[in-house]
């Protein structure tokens, strides 16, 4: 699986683009299994890097969604409330949030596509 290099990745398996679009990775959706529910914050919410901003529920488990960077939510992908399977189909286009990034420097500590791919190949059992 190729990971697009137009964005940065976290070790908690979220991605974020330079303009603040946030989603979860292909590896995350594959480990979660069939996703049945995504709970996202309202527009205007302040989210903090590495802290939970929502939850994602699959047939196996409920997991926190962690913010890759701090910022204010400017848009939420409402489609996911009715069609959570979009995340399974294409995790890298099924975005969850758009945020106004508070401190772009925070992005420097995130992983590149190549580093993330290396990270998950080691994590894979």
């Amino acid at each position: 699986m190729g990971y697009p290099d137009d964005r940065k990745y976290t070790k908690e398996h979220e991605w974020i683009t330079a303009d603040g679009t946030v989603g979860i990775t292909h590896y995350a959706q594959d480990s979660l299994g069939d996703i049945v529910f995504v709970e996202l914050p309202k527009v205007g919410t302040e989210i903090r890097a590495k802290k939970p901003f929502g939850t994602i529920e699959s047939v196996k488990a409920v997991s926190d969604l962690n913010a890759p960077a701090s910022g204010t939510v400017t848009a939420v992908n409402e489609e996911l409330t009715t069609d959570p399977e979009k995340v399974n189909k294409d995790a890298h286009s099924a975005w969850m949030l758009k945020i106004k990034i508070k401190d772009p420097a925070e992005m420097n500590s995130l992983l590149s596509a190549a580093d993330y791919e290396k990270f998950v190949s080691e994590e894979k059992h």
């Binding site: 529910f37 399977e85 059992h125």
Partner: protein, 500 residues
């Protein structure tokens, strides 16, 4: 040992289909007949006004034999501990001894009422007091409440007491530490009581990372909730150090006692530093579980938490009689109607008395032996992610089988065809593709061997014909259910239009 000489466990059996009872309804059928009215008739409209209801909606009208057949047929679809091994990990699905049921049906107990006067409830109170004393002795704690209805409510009660304790010292504190191998109810409980939850990573041996705990511990921590043995079936070998780290900063150690079946008669949580813990009478102490309950989740505490126990508590009065004490100003209050699930107290006490101290110890040893027998015989057939010694349950992973695309859930579905209830799948979360197996002491070696043979046979099928396993179950009443569609588009109630 080979099981070849033994009768195959599962076979085909005619299973009667059964619709919903609404589908059998037709006007005028009834399974009741009232005797002639022997009191003056009243006009319900006059008494109730607009509240009188004439149309009962879609209440089913069926005859007596239809009702009997309906529920009897449904009952034949059940899988129960009385039919075979029920190896759900961390659930302790042990046998419910018949002597417990006999004792619970003794007339004075079965017909007792929570509103009857204390002076004619001395037997019931004595049962509560004696059970309390036994559980305090078994756990090494100082005081107990029997009130909570089950484990999760026990956790809630325990943490309410933790909070009340810290508040009495002037600071409720902010957070609860929870290892990543914990039961899912633990973080839910902490959040419900108003604490922030902080995750604690396990080390490579599957235990709490004590160095990480030392770094995370500070005076904002109200308590650590630990399950011991944890959900990997591993005893926290540094539990005394964990307790010291908590206590040094004024925090409390909560133990989730769901896995107490591995400890009874061998070690006491009160002796290794636990301040508050719950027990699951419906797991460790053999009362019915999983549909047959209700559960019961007593919470045992050390002395300093005793003032916060829910009211009422059973006390011995000056004249030697037993009674309920309500005047406890620091109590967290009542957590359950009346005095808890009393029927379960009788059964748990019957179990404790029937076994005695040596019997309970033997039970623990047998539970651990059974889990390790399975571990030894299936090691290599299934991947064992943690080599640390197992207690009462063993956790494998689907690492070997997933190479063929077969995951833990598929293996579990195939196990149904062999006549067993599935083990716990995909939990604990720290093991990807977990198979969590807890046989309990109830299983004889013959049933364990059948289970082991079934698991080995499934592993062979994965190598030879993975698709066959992926499509399982094949012999069950219904084949693989679409669990995803059920979660995404749930149908929550029957409507006349749904009838086929």
């Amino acid at each position: 040992m080979s099981t070849k000489h033994m009768t195959r466990k599962a076979t085909r059996h005619i299973s009667q289909n059964e619709g919903l009872i609404f589908e059998k309804s037709s006007p005028g059928k009834a399974a009741w007949k009232l005797p002639p009215l022997d009191v003056p008739e009243v006009d319900p409209a006059k008494l109730l006004g607009k509240q009188e209801r004439k149309d009962l909606g879609d209440m089913p009208e069926v005859s007596e034999i239809e009702i009997i057949r309906h529920f009897t047929r449904l009952s034949t679809w059940n899988y129960a501990i009385d039919l075979g091994m029920y190896p759900l990990g961390s659930c302790t699905m042990k046998y419910n001894p018949r002597v417990n049921e006999f004792v619970a049906r003794v007339e004075g107990l079965a017909n007792g009422h929570p509103y009857q006067a204390e002076k004619i409830s001395q037997g019931a109170l004595r049962i509560m007091q004696t059970l309390s004393e036994c559980l305090i002795e078994i756990t090494g704690m100082d005081a107990i409440t029997l009130q909570p209805a089950a484990g999760a409510q026990g956790e809630l009660t325990g943490l309410l007491m933790v909070r009340a304790f810290h508040e009495s010292k002037g600071n409720a504190r902010k957070k609860i530490l929870i290892p990543d191998s914990a039961h899912g109810t633990n973080p839910a409980t902490a959040a419900t009581v108003g604490y922030a939850v902080e995750n604690l990573k396990s080390n490579s041996r599957g235990m709490v990372d004590v160095a990480a705990l030392a770094a995370q511990m500070n005076e904002d921590v109200a308590a650590l909730m630990v399950t011991n043995p944890n959900t990997l079936g591993i005893f926290e070998q540094e539990i005394h150090k964990i307790a010291d780290l908590l206590h040094d900063k004024g925090g409390l150690l909560y133990m989730d006692g769901a896995n107490m079946n591995a400890l009874v008669g061998k070690v006491r949580p009160g002796d290794f530093g636990v301040d508050v813990m719950h027990l699951n009478l419906h797991k460790t102490f053999s009362t019915p579980h999983g549909g047959g309950g209700p559960g019961s989740g007593p919470v045992a505490v050390k002395k300093m938490l005793a003032p916060f126990l829910p009211t009422p508590v059973v006390v011995t009065r000056a004249d030697g009689t037993l009674g309920f004490e309500y005047n406890r100003p620091q109590s967290v209050g009542r957590v359950r109607a009346f005095y808890g699930n009393f029927g379960m107290f009788i059964r748990a006490l019957a179990y404790i008395f029937a076994n005695g101290p040596d019997g309970l110890r033997q039970t623990t040893e047998d539970a651990v032996l059974n889990a390790n027998y399975i571990r030894k015989r299936l090691e290599g057939v299934f991947d064992l992610p943690y080599s640390t010694p197992s207690m009462h349950e063993v956790v494998f992973s689907d690492k070997l089988q997933s190479k063929k695309g077969v995951k833990t859930m598929d293996l579990a579905k195939r196990l149904i065809d062999y006549g067993f209830h599935p083990y716990t799948t995909a939990f604990p979360l720290i093991v990807p593709g977990a198979l969590m197996i807890e046989p309990t002491e109830s299983e004889p070696k013959e049933e364990l061997d059948l289970f082991i043979e079934a698991m080995k046979s499934i592993a062979e099928e994965v190598e030879e014909d993975p698709q066959y396993v992926l499509n399982a179950p094949h012999n069950a009443r219904i084949s693989r259910l679409d669990e995803t569609a059920a979660a995404r588009k749930p149908i929550l109630r029957w409507k006349p239009d749904n009838a086929v």
